[in-house]
């Protein structure tokens, strides 16, 4: 089991000189830091900054380090930070297995066996050849989670990942996601406006002002 740490040092994002969001935190292995706040409080901007997609209209100061290495200016694909969106966003032109394979590092040995194993883990054995469009909402969400994990990130950002699920699925997915993140020892940052998400994550909670 690997363990990683994500440091946000004096992060301060402004637009037109006006402060939008500021944060200073360390997220340890397997830990989930929840950031809550109303719309417009800069949650998504914070995620964009951490993932490496910040629009040039914003100015950002501070430093992001992953396992002690400064990643603030690295391009998104070299940061090692994985992302889970509201929507599962399974690539519609790839099969389920193709989606999982897409995220795997190039020299991963034995890709097919790992894919089968991952599908097994979430109760989707034999789904590899399926067209993602034929999956149910819950199934898609599970494939998206597995795609994230198979890409071997060293930290994870969660952008309201449960908000579009039905109520009965929501609790199930929360458990699944947080269990897997804990097990993988990944530091995670969850952005949400749902208190139940925060409770399920079980970690620290930061509330952003309006």
């Amino acid at each position: 089991m690997t363990s990683h740490r994500l440091d946000l040092e004096n992060v301060d994002i402004r637009i037109d000189g006006q402060p939008l969001v500021a944060l200073d935190a360390t997220i340890g292995p397997g830990e989930v830091l929840t950031v809550m706040g109303p719309s417009g409080s800069g949650k998504s901007t914070l995620l964009s900054f951490l993932a490496g997609f910040l629009d040039s209209a914003f100015e950002a100061r501070g430093r992001v380090a992953l396992d002690g290495r400064d990643i603030t200016v690295l391009p998104a694909e070299e940061r090692g930070i994985g992302l889970l969106f509201q929507d599962p966003l399974l690539f519609p032109h790839l099969s389920v297995a193709g989606n999982l394979r897409f995220g795997m590092p190039r020299h991963t040995p034995d890709k097919s066996r790992r894919i089968a194993q991952a599908l097994d883990d979430v109760g989707l054995e034999g789904f590899g050849d399926r067209d993602p469009a034929t999956l149910s909402g819950g199934q898609k969400a599970r494939v998206a989670l597995m795609r994230l994990l198979l890409s071997e990130p060293r930290a994870v950002l969660l952008d309201e990942p449960f908000s579009k699920l039905d109520t009965h699925l929501r609790q199930e997915m929360r458990e699944l996601v947080f269990d897997h993140l804990h097990q993988a020892g990944l530091p995670s940052l969850l952005v949400t406006h749902d208190r139940d998400d925060a409770a399920a994550a079980g970690g620290r909670l930061i509330e952003l002002a309006d």
Partner: protein, 565 residues
């Protein structure tokens, strides 16, 4: 990085030749053309131009056909879209967009002329039974002095274009949500669409609309077939002066070309004025808050006008197809006396060369255009710099210059320029000439889909460890395959239809189906014209079939991509 240079490259590639071409026409327009003894600048060509009988009439017809064609086409497209209810007829009409777009202008014009002429298909179907005519009546319908038949011919061709451009832009407007909102406030669906969708749609299709104005005010081939003759439209007159055996008419023709540029610009300015007026009236109409009045009427107008133009185009083509296999066909017989494969058999052996040349040129120009358009759009994505919606003055909108500046105003000048540069690679020049016109349309067709593409797909791919290049090749391109192929089909259609650039830049040596069709059309043999018009229409149609078919085949097992834009 190469990508970053693309916008600059595109602008140089397109603007350079046009500016140079216009320059080379300006000189003779002011009397300077040493090869014909014009050694000094003078206003003589302009005096000669303004002394031409009927010039004012020519200019007036060109100007009004630019404005009326555009206004009517746009109104029909908007009313049709507003009243569209997903009925079978609606879907059928929408599906006909691409095939109609692939019919060359001249072919559609021939078809319409044969449909509505006193000896045409309609008169034949009604005679002698209903009309009692044994001889065609001596009525002035086609080539009327007011240019009405010319405008009708242009409207038939411009509607599919504006409809395709609108259908491409609509998805980003979240139409169902907007209409639902307005309906919940008590508006009938058609009025809801016109009041909440149309004002948002117009800025997105403004450039295509401007292209229609420019085209309709300067078109040559359609005007020769359907336009007035005494005098003809300005563009046709200019071509006649350029082709006059008396070489001193070249000065006059050059001045005319400059005047044509002015007429087109005046039409654009006039449209801009109409836009302001429409905005003011439209706002008052929206503010007035009628929710029901006129809705049924508007819907019926839109639908029946769309149906009528589609039928006219279709029947015209059927007429041409009939002629291509017709033996002697006496008036008022509805069908030819005999059918014969003779016209096709005579043509087939000479088809191979022109068809392969046409395809080589069209494929090269389209491929180059796609590369440039994709590079520019990808650069936009990566740099995060988007042109503001509907804004006209961003550098890249110079891309549309070739659609605005009439061909006749710069191509002759461009030929002289290229000659003096000793550029003799005819094939390359022709491909380049086509690129001038293909690129804007390809860009126009592709840009909306590309810019609308959900950025989260690419972000996701990046966080999964893929480089921007891999993201482009493995995510964006395959997911945008359908719009890319549609843009390619539009590009092919545009290239296949080009006459002047092929003829002038190729020194006549490059023979395409269109140059062949035009030179044969001068023989006025309607049977031969029918054969070539069908050949000319079938090539771009092939492109559209591929554009629709390949994604369906490729993504047969991927439901998520079916019905994608």
């Amino acid at each position: 990085m190469l990508l970053r240079l693309t916008p600059a490259l595109i602008v140089t590639l397109l603007v350079g030749p046009i500016v140079a071409g216009v320059g080379m026409v300006l000189l003779p327009a002011f009397g300077y053309l040493p090869a014909l003894g014009g050694d000094a600048l003078s206003l003589a060509p302009w005096r000669a131009l303004f002394a031409q009988p009927g010039l004012a009439h020519s200019v007036a017809v060109s100007l009004t056909s630019g404005l009326v064609t555009t206004a009517v086409s746009l109104a029909i497209v908007l009313l049709f879209l507003a009243g569209t209810s997903g009925s079978r007829l609606d879907r059928w009409l929408r599906r006909l967009v691409s095939p109609l777009l692939s019919v060359p202008h001249a072919a559609a014009a021939f078809g319409l002329a044969f449909l509505i002429a006193p000896s045409g298909l309609v008169a034949r179907l009604l005679s002698p039974g209903i009309t009692g005519w044994e001889r065609p009546p001596d009525w002035l319908i086609v080539q009327d002095p007011w240019g009405l038949s010319l405008m009708a011919g242009l409207i038939i061709k411009e509607i599919p274009f504006l409809l395709l451009m609108s259908l491409a832009a609509l998805p980003q407007l979240e139409v169902p949500r907007r209409v639902a909102m307005a309906r919940s406030l008590g508006y009938r669906p058609t009025l809801a669409w016109l009041k909440v969708v149309a004002p948002a749609l117009y800025p997105l299709i403004r450039l295509p609309v401007y292209a229609v104005i420019a085209f309709a005010s300067s078109v040559v081939d359609v005007a020769m077939i359907l336009g007035p003759t005494l005098p003809p439209t300005l563009a046709v007159s200019i071509l006649e002066w350029f082709n006059d055996p008396d070489l001193s008419h070249r000065f006059l023709a050059s001045a005319g070309a400059v005047l044509q540029l002015g007429v087109t610009l005046a039409a654009l300015a006039g449209w801009w004025g109409l836009e302001c007026l429409a905005r003011r009236l439209g706002r008052r109409w929206i503010d007035a808050g009628q929710r029901r009045r006129g809705e049924g009427c508007l819907r019926r107008i839109g639908k029946s006008a769309m149906l009528a133009t589609t039928l006219a185009a279709g029947l015209g083509l059927i007429g041409l197809a009939l002629y291509s296999v017709a033996g002697f066909w006496r008036f008022p017989d509805a069908l030819p006396d005999t059918l014969t494969p003779q016209h096709w058999l005579g043509t087939l052996p000479s088809l191979g060369g022109p068809v392969s040349t046409t395809l080589i040129i069209a494929a090269s120009a389209t491929l180059l255009a796609l590369l440039l358009a994709l590079a520019a759009l990808e650069n936009e994505q990566r740099s995060g710099k988007y042109p503001a919606e509907g804004r006209l003055l961003s550098a890249l909108s110079l891309l549309y210059l070739p659609l605005i500046v009439p061909q006749i105003a710069f191509l002759f000048g461009l030929v002289v320029l290229l000659e003096s540069l000793e550029a003799r690679a005819r094939m390359a020049l022709v491909i380049f000439g086509h690129l001038l016109f293909v690129l804007p349309y390809v860009f126009l067709s592709l840009a909306e889909a590309y810019r609308r593409f959900d950025p989260r797909w690419s972000q996701l791919a990046r966080t999964l460890g893929r480089s921007p290049n891999a993201t482009f090749w493995r995510i964006r391109l395959p997911m945008l395959l359908a719009p890319v192929l549609t843009a390619a089909a539009v590009g092919l259609a545009i290239s296949i239809g080009q006459y002047l650039p092929t003829h002038l830049l190729g020194a006549g040596r490059i023979t395409t189906v269109t140059t062949e069709a035009v030179s044969l059309a001068s023989g006025a043999n309607r049977r031969v014209i029918g054969v070539w018009a069908l050949v000319q229409a079938s090539l771009p149609l092939l492109g559209f079939v591929i554009a629709i078919g390949v994604p369906r085949l490729l993504w047969a097992r991927r439901r998520g991509l079916q019905g994608a834009p």
